[in-house]
């Protein structure tokens, strides 16, 4: 499948091995998930990154829940996420028919974070995470974690052009670790998407 103009969004090797990706996804029974590195076609990803550079982020802080900068997802990226190619890929990996992906874009810089709260984890859902951050170091914080009701943690691998698909079961919550001063002005840019089944 292709976007308008005939370009592929997803790297061909993933398209070819989608069943293998599905197997990896279901293998982890506690946190069914898979992280795909260099997921998007390189040219497409560069285009996405350029679009992100044009949008306005607004900083928000709800002390007991989060501190982040948030933006709407640029149309080019949202269209790519909702292309037949990506929807079919995610549907196959997640093992369920997915009709639409809604998303928001976030930046996390020094002193930003999210904290676990009761309202997260109410539903059984599929989440998409796309990391757009070049040259991020784990020592800075900012990593994304999932935790279940029994305090089992799963860390999402990070890296620019990384796509993670997660089956976030009921009772599982997500947080972004506090970004510390070692980040020295760098920003983690991540898209969180929810799948409408």
């Amino acid at each position: 499948m292709h976007l308008e103009g005939g370009s592929m969004v997803i790297r061909n090797n993933y398209i070819q091995s989608v069943e293998k990706v599905r197997k990896s996804f279901v293998k982890n029974k506690r946190f069914p998930s898979v992280t795909l590195f260099d997921f998007f076609d390189e040219k497409e990803f560069k285009g996405f990154f350029k679009e992100i550079g044009k949008v306005k982020f607004v900083h928000e802080r709800d002390v007991m829940r989060h501190s982040w900068s948030k933006s709407q997802v640029p149309k080019k990226i949202l269209n790519a996420l909702n292309s037949p190619e990506v929807l079919e890929f995610v549907s196959t990996v997640a093992g369920r028919k997915i009709s639409c992906i809604g998303a928001s874009l976030y930046k996390f810089k020094h002193k930003d974070y999210t904290i676990l709260h009761d309202r997260d984890g109410d539903r059984d859902e599929i989440e998409i995470l796309i990391d757009f951050t070049p040259n991020w170091c784990g020592d800075y914080g900012g990593d994304v974690f999932y935790v279940d009701g029994k305090e089992n943690y799963s860390e999402v691998p990070s890296g620019a052009n990384t796509m993670t698909i997660v089956h976030k079961k009921k009772g599982t919550q997500r947080f972004v670790k506090y970004v510390n001063h070692l980040s020295k002005g760098k920003e983690k840019i991540v898209l969180f998407g929810k799948v409408l089944l």
Binding site: V63, M64, K111, L116, D139, V147, Y178, N180, H181
Partner: protein, 197 residues
Amino acid sequence: MEWIHEKHLTKLPKLEKKPFPHVEIDGFLLPERGIALLKGLMKERFYSKDADLFSFFQTNDLTKAKEKTIKDFVAFLKSEEFQDYVGDIFDVSLNSKVDLFGSLYKNTHYLLPHDDRLEGRRVAFMYYLSEMPVSDGGSLGLYQSKNNNPTKIVKRVKPQFNKFVMFLVSKESFHEVEEVISKDKQRIAFGGWLHGN
């Protein structure tokens, strides 16, 4: 009492009411007690604590410690004299149950905003055993709140050797430990709670 410096016995420390009831007492214990407690604490084992809300090192429950100096400190905290002293400051009734642990914050460590509320906890306390200049972080930030939600920090308490801080645990007692921004300084303290009915 052979623990508290005489100047704090002849006159009760001043209770500050904003943003919530607390006291900050410099030079609280007899200096030799503070030095002995620091030595005793550094013999304890510290464990890494890492979650959405925090990153630091902490000991196990020190009310079960075998080290004599710490055992004596626990006995002091549980003593009728100390319980009455605190009860008079805050006008609360305590029941001699005490929680006590040691904490160690190094570079990038932090504790995000929270209110300490858990059944039975009436007064939270911190006894500092190291100095942290403002530029090195590690301060205790006290939040103003509106409708039981924290809004902004209105007071910062700088760690200082032999400083004792206490506050009334309530729906408004939101506080945090600011990130430590120092490669070589450490924030060392005892912390815990006095319980009541």
